[in-house]
């Protein structure tokens, strides 16, 4: 469950968003510049709201009035960025293992196997990120986020940097992720077709305001 009620001023731009979601995949929809990434960064703890509260799974991670701001690294979220952001000095296997190590979690070989199979990245484990295609990089980034065992997965236009062909290559993995991984997600996109396939609930943003809220049909 995710509860967001925040305000943030970024230069001339002001963002004001309030919504509650029980959905498995919340689609955050809007044109570029609508404030989607800023909103996701606030949920991730990378950006501090000027006012308001954010609660993940019932735990308050931001309550500005009460002086609460849980840092990103204590939020137990997974974040998949548009540009993957794999660590260039680590190979794929080490990238995948990073979140588990940082959180001091015991190895879970079964889960490890499951995620690697789900994303079809078993053949890439020894490679360096520089030697991966854009689509492969994004799948590894998904795996890396999942293996940190997050309670909420944030995906900020994970297909945004890929061409049409690559998008179609990754989309089925995201569908499988939604159906099998059992982690609620916030999926950011400006592509209505993508969200129709993936989201169970839509939050529509326009110029920093939530304009509609509801099922996928609000995209029509």
């Amino acid at each position: 469950m995710l509860r967001v009620d925040v305000e943030k001023k970024l230069g001339e731009f002001s963002l004001q968003a309030s919504f509650t979601s029980e959905g498995r995949v919340i689609g955050l929809f809007g044109a570029s510049g609508a404030g989607k990434t800023s909103l996701v960064n606030m949920i991730a703890g990378l950006l501090r709201p000027d006012r308001g509260t954010i609660a993940i799974d019932g735990e308050i991670v931001d309550d500005i009035a009460a002086g609460i701001h849980v840092p990103s690294w204590r939020r137990r979220i997974g974040y998949v960025f548009q540009d993957a952001r794999l660590f260039p000095h680590l190979n794929v296997a080490q990238n995948l293992d990073y979140g588990r190590r940082m959180n001091g979690l015991a190895p879970d070989p079964a889960q490890h196997r499951r995620v690697i199979d789900l994303l079809d990245i078993g053949a890439l484990l020894d490679r360096r990120p520089g030697k991966l295609s854009g689509g492969e990089r994004q799948r590894v980034a998904l795996g890396r986020a999942l293996l940190s065992r997050p309670r909420l997965l944030l995906l900020d236009e994970p297909l945004g940097a890929l061409d049409e062909g690559r998008k179609l290559e990754i989309l089925p993995y995201l569908v499988r992720l939604r159906d099998e991984a059992n982690v609620p997600m916030v999926y950011v996109s400006h592509d209505a077709a993508e969200l129709r396939q993936l989201a169970t609930q839509i939050v529509m943003l326009k110029q920093g305001r939530v304009t509609s809220l509801g099922g996928v049909k609000v995209l029509a």
Partner: protein, 231 residues
């Protein structure tokens, strides 16, 4: 012809020891300062930056004299260190290491700072979202990615330390076996009537050491670029 005498060996080995200690001790401070200058904005930052670079532009004899006033037996810091920890700098090889470390510091910090500045901060954010506390981000992402720059800084600092002359001779004088480094040995040799051959040999050693350092610094810099591109 090219036979290095025991006295020359003494100077060479002392130089190597002084430069090694100076580099190793200066490195953690250099990394911390490089990070501070690359990543933080604070009041007095430009003053600190200027202070770090001061030994580069100040006459070395001034730096050496200031070290003597501060770290000498009767200096405020030197007196305290001698009385409390028994660490003495004046007229000791440790003092030579201190002088070399201070003189080498600007050169040591610069590549470190540049390589930290070149790191994509979004990678550090990604590490944070994966559960890494800030100090873990530093040791698992920032430092490994900056490592070629850190090594390049150490190499340059080492090369500078091995060639340091002015501040060292001012601070700890020119005592064979204790504070006489390659540079001060050359200085003494060219002032003695038949020191030319020996001076020539030490000159060649200096050139070889300096060239080696520059070439390896260059090599580390190239490695840095490859590393940041994930190859």
């Amino acid at each position: 012809m090219f036979e290095i005498s025991p006295a020359e060996w003494t100077a060479i080995l002392l130089s190597l020891r002084v430069a090694t200690i100076a580099t190793l001790v200066a490195t953690p401070f250099g990394i911390a300062l490089a990070w501070l200058l690359a990543r933080r904005d604070f009041w007095g930052k430009s003053v600190l930056d200027a202070l770090v670079h001061l030994p580069l532009v100040l006459p070395p004899v001034v730096t050496g004299y200031l070290l003597l006033l501060t770290f000498g037996r009767r200096g405020p810091v030197g007196g305290f260190l001698a009385d409390t920890f028994g660490i003495v700098f004046s007229f000791r090889w440790t003092g030579a290491a201190l002088a070399c470390g201070v003189m080498a510091f600007p050169l040591l910090v610069r590549p470190m700072r540049l390589s930290i500045e070149a790191i994509d901060r979004r990678l550090e954010q990604a590490a944070e979202t994966l559960g890494a506390a800030p100090w873990k981000v530093f040791f698992t992402v920032t430092l490994p990615l900056a490592l070629p720059g850190v090594l390049a800084g150490m190499v340059l600092g080492f090369a500078k330390a091995i060639g340091e002359f002015g501040a060292t001779i001012t601070f700890v004088s020119n005592i064979p076996g204790e504070t006489q480094t390659i540079s001060s040995a050359i200085y003494s040799l060219i002032q003695t009537p038949d020191g030319d051959a020996a001076a020539g040999r030490l000159v060649i050693v200096s050139i070889v050491l300096a060239l080696g350092a520059l070439i390896s610094a260059e090599w580390f810099a190239r490695r840095a670029t490859a590393r940041l591109h994930g190859n």
